[in-house]
């Protein structure tokens, strides 16, 4: 078995283990051990990947494995990774690992909870290793459906409504995406020959323009909905705020990245011509996402809603950067995905921990937490500073790269939308600092909260893991960019081939 398939097999084995063990504690341990192995495996993957690249391997994808699945349709189980997927896989293992520890206290149907959570993770891992559109789509849907149960059973607030809304909107998006994928498939061999779902093979040909005009928007919107593309972002605030902590972490941290990843790996990579022609529509929409999400976060009082809207804004920035279609911006998009994944997971984890103590998420009902729970509060400040782009933390690197990339376009339109998008930085600072001021630094308003316990060991594991990586990316972004460069190059080549022509 190759190393990539292991990324799907280990979660499946973990699920089996969780089902087999008996008492509550063992369930948690089984989940933690399984995902711990997964984390080590992704470290091994990074090591193998980097050493293969240093050894002079210049293939576009490494560790490729190809098995025929359905011969009639030329559907294969094809896996392979480039630097981008490696980075995303590492992010996923980190967030899942942290998520397991953040949900240590789930005591209602614990077994089912961890099984669903890891099933979701299986879908995400499978998605990032897939090179075949069919398997990619399969894993995409696999990642979406456990959300219904996770939010519906273990959620809070209007959970049934949120779960249904989220599931239907995301499945609706995947329905459109399915059409896009079928369209790509039937145009994958314009010169005759075997039709294929394999992304690399499709990329060797040019899909006819007419088909591109039809299927690019479908594919982009299909993935975009998951990346909270305005006006299809409405599932995100409701879903994230109703979901239990680990699910919010995983969903905002990783699942929304499926949208961004798919948008450039499938929509832009395979149909760059239509992407060039139609990008202006989506650039406008994503700029709205970026600014609107930030404004939305300002007026919210619920911590989770604030962070959910902030996710809309940050994920909008990912799509925005992807649509700029140059190397710097694309680099920025991936760094932003990783950075936002880590910091939003941290945010949601902290919010979950605070909520677990105070049983409220309304910022005006709490105050002065800095004195009461210093560990959690400091971590919250760090997450906030990363989110508003403080140099030295990951958010700064990401946003800087994105905006520099976007500003490289010399024409008026791109400059204007970039400036509009940049304003979001200021707005972000407003809502982040507002929360910090009221929630952490303000006077203590409720004496019930005076004797809260600070973080326990498992919460510290979760928080420290995430903060470490936020800081590493912030201080040494070259570690990440050197990993990404080989992955981004072929996509840029394909885009430029059109621009020159």
């Amino acid at each position: 078995m190759d190393i990539l398939t292991l990324f799907v097999v280990i979660p499946v084995l973990t699920m089996a283990g969780i089902i087999l063990v008996k008492d509550l504690n063992r369930v948690r341990v089984a989940a933690a051990v399984g995902m711990g192995i997964q984390l080590l495996l992704s470290a091994l993957l990074i090591f193998l990947y980097v050493s293969a690249r240093n050894g002079g391997n210049t293939d576009e994808m490494l560790f490729v494995r190809d098995l025929v699945w359905f011969k009639t349709f030329n559907i294969h189980y094809t896996v392979g990774v480039d630097g981008i997927s490696v980075a995303m896989i590492a992010l996923t293992s980190l967030v899942v690992f942290a998520g397991i520890f953040a949900s240590w206290e789930v005591d209602f149907l614990t077994k089912e909870f961890f099984v669903s959570l890891i099933l979701l993770a299986t879908g995400v891992f499978g998605f990032f290793i897939s090179l075949d559109l069919f398997t990619m789509f399969l894993f995409y849907e696999l990642a979406v459906i456990p959300m219904y149960l996770l939010i519906g059973i273990w959620g809070s607030g209007p959970k049934e409504y949120s779960a249904m809304k989220l599931t239907l909107m995301l499945m609706g998006a995947s329905a459109i995406l399915l059409l896009g994928i079928l369209g790509i498939y039937f145009n994958s061999a314009p010169a005759g020959g075997q039709l294929t779902f394999n992304i690399q093979e499709i990329a060797r040909h040019t899909i006819p323009m007419q088909a591109q005009y039809l299927f690019f928007p479908m594919t982009f919107v299909g993935f975009g909905v998951l990346g909270a593309l305005f006006p299809f972002h409405t599932w995100s605030p409701d879903g994230h705020s109703s979901a239990p902590t680990a699910v919010s972490m995983l969903h905002a941290g990783v699942l929304m990245k499926l949208g961004g990843y798919g948008a450039f790996r499938v929509a832009i990579y395979l149909m760059p011509e239509a992407a060039h022609e139609l990008s202006w529509i989506f650039i406008i929409l994503t700029s709205i996402s970026v600014v609107y999400g930030a404004f939305g976060a300002i007026v919210q009082k619920d911590l989770k809603y604030i962070n959910a809207y902030s996710s809309v804004s940050h994920c909008g920035l990912v799509l925005f950067a992807i649509l700029m279609m140059n190397k710097t911006a694309l680099n920025g998009a991936v760094i932003q995905m990783i950075s936002h994944g880590l910091m939003t997971a941290l945010f949601f984890a902290l919010i979950g921990m605070i909520y677990g103590r105070t049983h409220t998420r309304m910022i005006n009902e709490m105050g002065g937490l800095m004195k009461i729970v210093p560990f959690l509060s400091v971590a919250y400040v760090i997450a906030g500073l990363a989110s508003l782009g403080l140099p030295g933390l990951s958010g700064f690197v990401a946003e800087m790269t994105v905006f520099v990339g976007a500003f490289q376009h010399p024409d008026l339109f791109h400059r204007v939308v970039t400036i509009v998008a940049i304003t979001s930085i200021v707005i972000t600072a407003v809502y982040i600092l507002r929360v910090i001021a009221i929630l952490l630094l303000g006077p203590s308003t409720n004496e019930h909260y005076d004797h809260l316990r600070d973080a326990r060991w498992y919460e510290k594991v979760s928080v420290v893991t995430l903060i470490t990586f936020i800081a590493i990316i912030g201080m040494a972004p070259f570690l990440l960019t050197s990993l990404l460069s080989t992955g981004i190059q072929p996509i840029i080549d394909k885009i430029l081939a059109y621009a020159q022509f």
Binding site: T72, F73, L138, L149, L168, L179
Partner: protein
């Protein structure tokens, strides 16, 4: 007839022998021993099922009236597997006091309708097809009315027999016109002589309507919900899976083989009916409270998806239809099996009764979850692959709009399937249906369904096998 002829017909002959054996066993049965006939029938039918999977020759009999091809063998095997599951599921239901001494008649009627379906699928001549169809339908009315203490059951039986008579009449009228225009009823000759004229189109429309009744395609679906609701649950599952599957099998064979000349006409017809069937089935399913009616409308919409495989007239299309029915057999019987188990133990059949079911009956709830997800087309379950291939088959011929309508419909269907999931897993309930243990046959049946739902999708070889035996226009 030579031995070879007997061997060619072994599916039907074995079935008839099994039926007769059950009948004679009933005569010599010691009335003191109660449960023996069920087990006897089950064993006999299991033998028939396994015999079906043995390699067989292909060929024709009775001067071309009866045909055995790889396609038809696969179809019969799928039906056999389905019927085996239905029989297993009915054991506990038949054990009720009020059915004492009547269980043999259940098996005899059920197996003779299956024999009718097998004859129908093997037909190479329209008369043979018609006889098989009648044998497959008329006894069914007796089964629907099997529960003789229930008014609804009797009502369902009457409705089914009237509708069957009507649709048979329409079908026969179409056949007579086919005979009038071509002078033959052999599939091959009709295919050769059929022209694209007005009378021929009219004949085809009558034929199509007759078949549409059987598969319950909108606008010929109105009987479905009432009959499904009235019939005992196990009969409902038989009707919605086996009976519908058999009709769809022969319909696609006849359509592709006999009527390729007028393909453009029937493509339009199927386009419209597919859209109507999917949409109306789904929209009506949303409002249903009774699970049998709910599954009835869901099965109407499933027939709509099925038509997407018909429309292209391609080999892939036919393969995806057969494959989808195979998947549908396991998924729908899984769902019905759970409904039957709960209905038999508690007599409750409404979605509201399922609130909080997971707490008391986690196993059944999980089977239901898998079955509904498979019906909704959620990976990694078999239904996802089935739907994907149907959609691919339609998109291959450029029917992108139709595929769009179909995928939007799957979202609607996901909504109402999730309503059941919500009831079972999410809604809190102080008084859920009590915990109970299903008997062994039910467990085996549900186990087979779950295995089918999980495995069929991953085993790519099954699709390849079906595809190699299929044919296009």
């Amino acid at each position: 007839m030579t031995l070879r002829d007997f061997l060619l017909m072994r599916q039907e002959l074995l079935l008839i022998v099994a039926t007769l054996l059950i009948l004679s066993a009933e005569i010599f049965r010691d009335p003191e021993k109660k449960r023996s006939p069920d087990l006897f029938a089950l064993i006999l039918f299991a033998i028939v099922t396994f015999a079906g999977f043995l390699p067989s020759e292909t060929g024709t009999l009775f001067g071309g009236m009866y045909e055995v091809t790889d396609t038809r063998l696969i179809m019969k095997n799928i039906l056999n597997a389905g019927v085996l599951i239905v029989l297993l599921q009915s054991v506990s239901w038949l054990g009720r006091k009020e059915y004492e001494g009547r269980t043999s008649e259940y098996h005899i009627i059920l197996l003779s309708t299956l024999a009718g379906m097998d004859f129908m699928i093997s037909a190479g001549h329209f008369l043979m097809f018609y006889i098989g169809l009648e044998l497959a339908t008329i006894p069914l009315a007796a089964l629907v009315a099997y529960d003789r203490f229930s008014n609804k059951s009797a009502e369902g039986g009457i409705k089914l027999i009237l509708i069957s008579a009507l649709s048979s009449g329409i079908l026969l009228y179409g056949l007579s016109m086919i005979y009038g225009t071509t002078g033959s009823l052999y599939f091959d000759e009709v295919a050769r002589l059929f022209r694209n004229g007005n009378l021929e189109i009219l004949a085809f429309i009558f034929f199509f309507s007759g078949m549409a009744f059987k598969i319950s395609i909108v606008p010929f679906h109105l009987w479905t919900a009432d009959v499904y609701e009235g019939a005992p649950v196990n009969i409902t599952s038989y009707l919605s899976v086996i009976s519908k599957g058999a009709a769809a099998f022969i319909f696609i064979i006849v359509l592709f083989r006999v009527f390729p000349v007028i393909i453009e006409s029937w493509q339009k017809l199927i386009y419209v009916t597919a859209v109507l069937t999917m949409t109306i089935g789904n929209l009506f399913a949303i409002r249903q409270q009774n699970l049998k009616r709910f599954l009835a409308f869901s099965s109407i919409s499933q027939a709509g998806y099925l038509l997407l495989g018909f429309i292209g007239g391609t080999q892939t299309g036919m393969a995806s239809v057969i494959y989808y029915i195979l998947v549908y057999v396991f998924s729908n019987l899984g769902a019905f099996g759970v409904v039957a188990a709960i209905s038999n133990s508690s007599g409750r059949e409404n979605i509201g009764d399922y609130n909080g079911l997971y707490r008391t009956n986690p196993g059944l709830s999980l089977v239901m979850l898998l079955a509904l997800f498979s019906l909704a087309g959620i990976p990694p379950f078999a239904g996802f692959f089935g739907k994907f291939f149907l959609f691919t088959a339609a998109a291959q011929k450029g029917y992108y709009i139709l595929v769009l309508i179909a995928v939007l419909n799957t979202i609607i269907s996901l909504y109402y399937y999730l309503l059941v999931v919500k009831a079972m897993f999410i809604v809190k309930n102080e008084t859920p249906i009590g915990s109970f243990n299903s008997d062994l046959p039910t467990k085996i049946a549900l186990g087979i369904c779950v295995a089918g739902i999980v495995i069929i999708g991953f085993a790519g070889i099954i699709f390849e096998m079906i595809r190699n035996s299929s044919f296009g226009v």
